[in-house]
Amino acid sequence: MLKKQILEQFQNLVGPENIDDSEVMTNAYAYNWCMELVNCMEEKEPIPFSPIPKAIILPSSVEEVQQIVKLCNKYHIQFKAQSTGLGPWNQPSSENCIILDLRRMNKIVKIDDKNLYAVVEPYVSGAQLQAETMKYDLTVHMPGAGPQVSPLASATSMNGPGFTSPHTGHSARNVLGVEWVLPDGEILRLGSTGLKNHPDWFSGDGPGPSLRGIMRGWAGAKSGIGVFTKVAFKLFPYPCSTKFKLKGISPNYEFEIPDFMKLYVMDCKNYKYLEKVFLAVEEEEISFICSHLSGYGLGAIFSNSIESLMDKIPIASTHAPLVIVIAARTSREFEYKQKVMNKIMAEFKLENIIGTKYTPNSLFYAEALRSNLGLHGFIATGGFQSSKGQCDSAPLCLNTTKMSIPLKKKYIKKGVIANDFGEGVWMTSYESGHYFHVESPTLFDQTTEKSVKGMAENMEENYQFDLIKHLGAPFFVEGDRMHDKFGPHMMDYHKWLRKIKKAFDPNGIADSGFYISAK
């Protein structure tokens, strides 16, 4: 709880109904998905609750955020900002912290359909923004976490691969102008929003040196470097007709598949061959989706319940499948893309098992277009987290996958993680194969201590393995302990990160539990 005198000052800023420091509210905000795993890795009790925040505050404008942050500095209270709030990264790392729930900041500020960007506040969801951009025949990048999460959070503060990454890129690469409340309460406007004359949102760089790298770096600071209150990011052409017709009742919707849309699943049998096919397809720059998943993952993206996975045995038994969705706006474009695919399949002697061995429900195509496929990782409604998170070349990503199988099998044998034969990965290309992402989604039981501890151990060993084998940094390198572990192996980047933290947050007010402290 906050001291009465401090609480009153916050109340004066946002109104009494928009701050709450009660036991009920603060405990509810202490919960998050995978928090038991984080606690376990920090040798705490493996429960899904973080330290309890002092209060929850709901600002409605950048000015209110600024004043809140200044009050935090005055009273040496840390803050943690969250938008849609999925995942442990939204949690405070100490009890001397308030949570800024940015839910009331939910405006789409601008959709510039000529210059292909949108400006949004933190609590606009990906699906909301996409619904509006579809009215302009445009779409937006959404991370694998799903269309219900905040694209602002992904663009400014998280990693951000998604199923449509071949077409819509990567959150780090899409971010343009940014409005940023620094940890000392100053407002910084990045890129062209800082221009003296005609400020606008179209560029994230300049005037002067670009600060985009400092703002988010590889995987974002998770509110450890301030609060992002508006962001502009790129929009992309919607890949086909935006006519979107669904019939039936959830979840068994029937979708009228657009005229120029086709799914391919090819079983490449082994990783070496998969690499060649992956690169060949992506070199042609024709795919809307181009992902490799394990057999289980493949079954999951076509299933809407854990039971219906059972029907997917023909497809789940593939060895190195590649999932490709092509889509087009004209018949000519569609014909061209199909010709290219036919040529690649002929060259590599591969068959499309869609339409022969397996035909998915039409809903798959709707979910592909609305970026809902990543959520299928949750169909077991159980513990689920990824180790790995490499962003690199196709050979390295696949090498990581292959080399990690024995390690994963070790934990499968212990019975602490679900059996995906060690092959459980999701790999996508970014920007038509210019680079690639791989992560290793793993199911565990978040309700049993044995499984949580086993999964934590599995993640720790994976991190160590990545270091020893030079497989790059996973995307959950967060907090002092992890940065101190990886930094010395990576040109002492952690020392520079600390300097940034110290310069931007001299009082250490932005909670750094998932970033880095200035110590």
Binding site: V24, E132, S250, I379, G382, Q446
Partner: protein
């Protein structure tokens, strides 16, 4: 939901916030993307379906105690079930059932329901209706010229709200049945509250008393079919009663029944009604009107840590809701132009009145109704229609409060007009209610 399942489920919320939105693939605009009135109005995460699952877990773990603050959050929920539809698009949790169970636990702990809801419950116990109206006035809505057949096998169960507060619905339903030549009876002074208000505020034991009383009476009279014009009574009889006790009569809502009469040619809608209208799916008639299916399967470990139900355990996803009959009726009304809102059928936005909210939190009910009225207005329709007395009262309150030019009718009133029956009589009743 039994205690074992409750304990299992409250540990599994992913905090993904899917419950705050209509199914993602159905989102058509930023404005009408949300699913839950409580989180829309009160913003803090615990007001959402997932947030209440977290509260349930925190309570079980002893991190929080039963308190007025906890109670207020748990009862600021219309139990509309939209969170459950969204969650079950992929997941296996039952947010609505967890909320209902959490309310039961608060009642057991002496912390629930809300004081105003307690007054309603006491009224049901004392005078068989939540409005504290004299039981002997229950049938006062009945005009002299309505033909009742005391030996009919079809029962029209009017319900407390239509009997005392929305008499125009009861009169319209009765006149339509007369017009179709359907022989029906009513229970007269043996009709009691269905128990819905007490069930949904967590007073499960009192609910069971009323359930037994009602089923005993209906079965003792050899009734074959019970017709309801109240979506709440219909849902309670259809979905909730069988969880405690089987019965041997059929149940249907007037929109189903009238649609059948129209299809059979027993009703002919001939009078032109030149309006443009939109339809609000009541939660009790739509997504929640789906029975629990008996499941005698077993949970089988597929691979370590992943179990599946064999055969698959049926999920209540709103698939058995009554969506098409009211729309079929509207299509048959000459001159009526029908326009859909964005949030319809299994993901329709709630009117805001349900589960004791109208009594305990009238401002929440009203503000929710205003959101729904705005959505109806955005269709360009002149009229909003529905088929539930709670929705009727609350949406009409929303129209008045927001100064909307929309008119509200129950679908049975519109049928009555399209039959060319004397709407003056109905107007008289409307004036009386107003």
């Amino acid at each position: 939901m039994d205690e074992k399942e409750y304990q299992k489920m409250i540990k599994r919320c992913l905090r993904c916030s899917i419950c705050k939105w209509i199914p993602q693939v159905q989102i058509k605009s930023q404005k009408y993307a949300t699913a839950c009135p409580a989180i829309d109005l009160y913003n803090y995460h615990p007001y959402s379906g997932g947030g209440k699952i977290i509260l349930a877990l925190a309570l079980e773990m002893g991190r929080i105690k039963p308190s007025e603050e906890l109670r207020d959050i748990v009862y600021k929920c219309t139990e509309c079930g939209n969170c459950a539809i969204a969650c079950k698009f992929l997941n296996t949790l039952e947010p609505l059932e967890i909320i209902m169970r959490l309310r039961e636990k608060l009642v057991e702990a002496g912390c629930g329901p809300m004081p105003k809801q307690k007054a309603y419950t006491d009224a049901v116990k004392n005078v068989n209706n939540p409005y504290s109206e004299p039981h002997e006035n229950r049938m006062k809505w009945l005009p002299d010229d309505i033909k009742i057949d005391p030996n009919a096998k079809l029962l029209y169960y009017i319900g407390c709200t239509s009997s005392y507060r929305r008499k125009e619905m009861a009169i319209a339903a009765a006149r339509i049945m007369n017009a179709a030549g359907v022989a029906f009876r009513i229970l007269q002074d043996e009709e009691y509250c269905c128990g819905s208000p007490i069930l949904r505020t967590g007073e499960i034991h009192t609910f069971q008393e009323f359930l037994n009383k009602n089923v005993d009476i209906i079965e003792s009279k050899g009734i074959e079919t019970v017709v309801f014009s109240c979506a709440g009574c219909y849902d309670t009889f259809k979905v909730d009663y069988p969880l405690y006790r089987d019965y041997d009569f059929k149940v249907c809502h007037t929109v189903e029944f009238f649609n059948e009469l129209l299809e059979a040619g027993k009703l002919k809608l001939t009078k032109e009604i030149p309006i443009s209208a939109t339809y609000h799916d009541p939660c009790h008639l739509g997504r929640n009107a789906e029975r629990y299916e008996q499941w005698d399967g077993e949970e089988v470990k597929l691979i370590p840590l992943i179990s599946i139900n064999i055969p698959p355990k049926p999920k209540r996803t709103g698939k058995a809701g009554i969506y098409d009959p009211p729309r079929n009726i509207l299509k048959k009304i000459p001159g009526l132009k029908f326009i859909e809102m964005e949030r319809i059928r299994e993901y329709a936005y709630c009117c805001g009145a349900g589960a004791g909210v109208k009594s305990a939190f009238p401002e929440m009910a009203l503000n929710t109704a205003k959101i729904r009225i705005e959505e109806a207005e955005d269709t360009g329709a002149d009229v909003i229609l529905s088929a539930c007395p709670f929705c009727s009262t609350n949406l009409q309150d929303g129209i008045s409060e927001s100064g909307s030019k929309l008119k509200y009718y129950d679908i049975s009133e519109l049928i009555l007009m399209a039959l060319g029956l004397e709407p003056e009589k109905l107007k008289h009743v409307l004036a009386e209610v107003a």
